[in-house]
Symmetry: C2
Subunit: 335 residues, 2 copies
């Protein structure tokens, strides 16, 4: 391995001078610069970033703790994080915790030892211990989570408005009996926001029907089973708003398999706009969260904080979109 020392020797200058030309940090006479550059070219010298990190105390590493890269929204967030990171010269250290608190703890320690300059945590909900540990590391830190705690800097979309708007959209299409299908009994803050948005739309539009079902899971398979059970009982709604797309797809499949036509008998909307929305039949209307942007905007916040710029603390909310597809039937033009 060829080092700065070798370059200095070959170019017959001091290592200080070599350092100055590779970093362009101080004036160097043109002839000397040329000579050094020539040697660098010839030897193929590349500075050792580890040594550089040690003295500059900059690692240009951002620790990203996620649950599972297999979830496409997580992959999208990571893409946003990486892209913006690379723009500013930061690399990301990816840590998949698969929702294990112990693993998250281990990675937080690891990232600290590795001198990560910032932390980006992505997960449905985080244990208080993890939040405290992350804070104790004294590094800039941003969260993307479904369960917001006051003490964290987080980035999010306005779920309350999103569900409010999509419910209003169903109402405008003539639906009067709209149910909401929630994931867990034990709700995250975001889930509460969603349900509040649903209820507000119902009330604001003077409807007298509302019903919140609880699947007991956020997963498709469980939603499918749950859907079969409500398909069998007497269901009186003409549309359902689902807390996420996995649930919506599970419910939709269960209805289809039970002989309930979507959207002719029941309209369904989801939340998240995952890729599968366009693959299922009928294609699923959903709320689009700009996941890539979540990563990108969050990363910008993080980098700003690292640079010491003042940045807004706490909340940062991103806009959503309603992706209209054909899982919703308009009842307006019917007699």
């Amino acid at each position: 391995m060829i080092t700065i020392k070798d370059v200095a020797r070959l170019a017959e200058v001091s290592i200080s001078t070599v350092s100055r030309v590779i970093n362009d940090s101080k004036p160097v006479s043109p002839e000397v610069r040329r000579k050094v550059l020539k040697i660098i070219e010839e030897t193929g010298y590349k500075p050792n970033d580890v040594a550089r990190s040690l003295v500059t105390r900059r690692s240009y590493l951002i620790g990203v703790i996620i649950n599972n890269l297999a979830q496409s929204y997580v992959a999208d967030i990571v893409r946003g994080i990486e892209e913006i990171g690379k723009m500013y010269g930061y690399d990301i250290l990816l840590c998949s915790s698969y929702s294990s608190k112990e693993t998250q703890e281990k990675y937080l320690q690891l990232l600290d030892r590795k001198q990560a300059e910032g932390l980006f945590l992505v997960g449905t909900r985080f244990d208080d211990d993890i939040i405290d540990l992350a804070k104790s590391l004294n590094k800039p830190c941003v969260f993307f989570t479904r369960d917001v705690k006051e003490k964290m800097n987080y980035i999010s979309i306005d779920c309350n408005s999103a569900i409010y708007e999509i419910t209003k959209y169903l109402i405008k299409e003539g639906h009067k009996k709209i149910a909401f299908i929630s994931d867990f009994e034990n709700r995250t803050t975001i889930e509460n926001d969603k349900i509040a948005g649903y209820m507000k739309a119902i009330e604001d539009n003077g409807l007298d029907y509302s019903h919140v079902y609880v699947v007991g899971s956020g997963k498709q398979r469980r939603a499918y089973d749950f859907g079969l059970s409500i398909a069998n009982e007497h269901k009186d709604f003409t549309a359902v708003v689902c807390s996420n797309d996995e649930i919506a797809i599970g419910i939709m499949n269960s209805f289809t398999d039970s002989g309930i036509n979507v959207p002719d008998d029941v309209s369904i909307v989801g939340f998240g706009n995952i890729r599968e929305c366009r693959f299922v039949r009928p294609e699923l209307t959903s709320i689009g969260e700009p996941y890539y942007d979540v990563g990108a905007v969050g990363m910008r916040m993080l980098i700003k904080t690292i640079k010491g710029d003042k940045t807004q603390k706490g909340l940062m909310e991103l806009p959503f979109t309603i992706e209209k597809r054909n899982s919703v039937k308009s009842l307006v033009n019917e007699n």
Copy 2:
């Protein structure tokens, strides 16, 4: 920031001793060890991995160059890489090149400067310059690609056998006119393997019909358009084998939209077993590539090479599975 020096001072020992207890590298008397551990505990000292890296010349970093994390199979490979990496104490530096040769080159240089100990390149095909550059870095390196060159260490699945087997499966189900739908005119080595597997199955079973269509793209949308065009002309096959799932789904949707029933009129199989296979209707029969394992096995190879164990060079092939779903109709029990 508290350093090894602080710990040494507080514990009234030399930094050598502190180093020995944190690394358990040399015998230390029980009392001294206890004293040091106590100080470490009290101060919350954590070794600086950057400094450690510099002297040990070990970064425990693996550079992973991919095209796009938005492709689910890429995310799965990365999961496998990360999981095995973490098991052995390695972290991954993720670099998304979005198929740009320039970006790949830049990242290769970056990874070299960062002292990455190994390289894992994932992509459909790589430019010769990139392969050469990667080799020139003199680091252990493994490729997962659809276009294999002799000069690389790669990991792959046996596509020839996979397509052979799935074609045979269609034949066993009574299909006698089976077409193959390929992606590009300009074929990768893997694509050639697939077509060869298809042809061999046709020949081995004495069928007199064979036809290779070329979409001109590996993407779903283009396959959809292409599917519309062949749906309109007189098509004489009862089944099609597609070079990948995106194509299969595009073709399937185009057939459905053209009034051709899948699988009643035409059976379709894909390759890749992407998540969408289970979301489309009918669910798509496909060849499952163990992508997670590709990452995991490749990473094991890489780590072995880093450790200096001799490992098989060149090819490493993984088994495939045929995921039978309902996009295939059996013609056997018909009269």
